[in-house]
Amino acid sequence: MDWDAFLRFLRGPLFDVALVVFVAGLAYRIVRVVALGWRRDRAPAMGSRAGGIVTSYAKGIGIWPFIPWVKDSFRGNAVTFLAGGLFHLGLFVVIFLGTAHMLVWKRLLGFGWPTLSLPVVDFLAAGAIASMIALLVNRFTQPVMRKLTGAPEMANWVFVFLPMLTGYMMTHHMFFRYEVLFSLHMLAVNVLLIWIPFSRIPHFAFYFFSRTIHGSQFGKRAVTP
């Protein structure tokens, strides 16, 4: 098999198609959520909406992750909270602060930024992969989680796990030739990009919607947690 040609196809035409599906799908999902609309709010404001939004983000990103024991979600299932946090941290660092991925952004956006050194990114990537495995085990050992697990959840896990795994193997030149691992990684990434709009993974975009709206409501009603 001509892996060079396959890799060129994956990095070229298929990536372009995957990106178009991803962007179009995400735009559709966002528009559908926005188009749900809001009922007119006639109640007078008791506090600052902007203040509520700022507080909501500050607590959600800056405080709760570091004192998780005050959260019900942590007390209910610590594995989900910790492994989920570690996974998201690793994913963020790998995608935005890994050298190879910054070069992808640079190509797409036209500008780049400084990145973390490979051993640091590598450590967090390994942490993210281990977290995903822990989350999967947790999913099947917790009765409630098991009830919440269906085909879409499993598809999400697989389609996110494969790019992580192949990317890690590629960085370490494990088992196969580099161009083979690179091809497998690009294939997994393209599949993920196409899958995202059809899944619950767009929460990376909707998170900001919900936090902004909730924060705004908290602020307006002066009940900022």
Binding site: D2, R11, A35, R39, V120, Y178
Partner: protein, 375 residues
């Protein structure tokens, strides 16, 4: 059997001492100097064990008949020939090209025109089924093949004729091996590598831009001396020279592993000799011997000199993204218009579906109104 190579050399004034020296050089050129390449060379066992390597070569030269090499050039820049003639191992090149036997080479020939063509035809006739054919340059197949003609005949025609009587075929340089620069998109001449044009023949590919002179002469020497071809990989490249990637043998590899990258050609990282991956190095996917054999008698190679590997020994390297663009980046930057169009189309469909849903629900009671999030 005709005159052996040894007899031929002695008749041309080469002393026995010089002859044995040549044997040592040839053994080195064929990559016979280490244990693994000996096994990978595809030589019979009796040749790869026992006597010293130079002795094995000497034994073979004493019995092998001298065979001519016919060197054809098509859509090329003659860079591979230039690399050979300017190689810093002149003894080897002199030995293989002049002493042992180039019977036809357009660039090196003193003769030209009809005289040169006659020499080629004469050699092909005299050594039918025995000569080694070396091809440099790609073969245009577009139209009627008229993009490259020599003496009024197309490259395709000349190649097929020469290949029919060849004992073995070696394609040197990326153009002859994989199409090279002439094949770069949009490939106006429909250029192809030799092995694509001659699917039934065994073509040894020595890609590179140019090919490493010692890789070409080493392969030619093996055929001349032992009458065998080296073991090949799936792209028909000798494993002796193309068995590992540039990245695997790169002196800057520890910096890659440590995550230390030069960010530009004149920053501190570049001065410190850090990895050139961010500057577009294609070393991880490029199979060649540059990092070990190097150029100019082992003086240096591009990465050592501070330039990223272009991947010139891989098929279609010319269309594999920008030379200075990181290898992880997508090949074609998606244009803003395409992304904008995709986002617009997605949004438009979203608005349409939302409107249709709303219209369908209108007759329903007030409870179907959009609800407010309560947080």
């Amino acid at each position: 059997m005709g005159e052996t190579i040894e007899e031929y050399l002695l008749r041309h004034g080469v002393s026995r001492r010089q002859f044995l020296k040549y044997c040592g050089i040839l053994a080195g050129a064929m990559g016979l100097s280490a244990a693994a390449p000996v096994g990978a060379s595809g030589l019979p066992r009796y040749l790869t064990s026992g006597a010293t390597l130079a002795e094995q070569v000497a034994q073979a030269l004493e019995t092998r008949p001298r065979l001519p090499v016919i060197w054809l050039e098509f859509q090329d820049c003659a860079g591979c020939t230039e690399a050979l003639t300017r190689s810093q191992s002149p003894t080897l090149v002199d030995l293989v090209l002049n002493q042992i036997s180039i019977d036809y080479h357009e660039t090196l020939f003193a003769a030209a025109g009809a005289q040169a063509e006659e020499a080629r035809l004469a050699a092909m006739e005299a050594y039918a089924g025995q000569y080694l054919l070396v091809v440099e340059g790609s073969v245009p197949t577009g139209g009627t093949g008229l993009f490259c003609t020599i003496g009024g005949r197309t490259a395709l025609d000349i190649l097929e004729e020469a290949a029919a009587g060849a004992a073995a075929i070696v394609a040197t340089g990326n153009c002859a091996a994989f199409g090279g620069l002439p094949k770069a998109s949009p490939n106006p001449t429909e250029a192809k590598g030799v092995w694509e044009v001659l699917p039934d023949a065994t073509v040894v590919n020595i890609p590179g831009c140019p090919a490493i002179p010692e890789a070409t002469t080493g392969t030619v020497a093996q055929f001349l001396v032992f009458g065998t071809l080296p073991e090949l990989d799936d792209l028909n490249r000798p494993k002796t020279f193309y068995g590992t990637t540039i990245h695997d043998r790169c002196q800057r590899r520890p910096f890659y592993d440590a995550g230390k990258f030069a960010m530009s050609f004149d920053d501190e990282g570049a001065r410190q000799g850090w990895c050139l991956y961010k500057l577009g190095c294609k070393g991880p996917t490029t199979y060649n011997a540059c990092a070990t054999m190097k150029w100019d008698a082992g003086l240096s190679f591009p990465i050592q000199s501070g330039h990223p590997c272009l991947g010139c020994s891989q098929p279609d390297f010319w269309d594999g993204g920008g030379f200075y663009q990181g290898q992880s980046a997508p090949l074609g930057p998606p244009t803003l218009s395409r992304i904008g169009l995709a986002a617009g189309a997605g949004a438009l469909v979203g608005v349409g579906v939302a409107a249709a849903t709303k219209a369908r629900r209108k007759p329903a009671p007030a409870s179907a109104e959009p609800t407010e999030s309560e947080g």
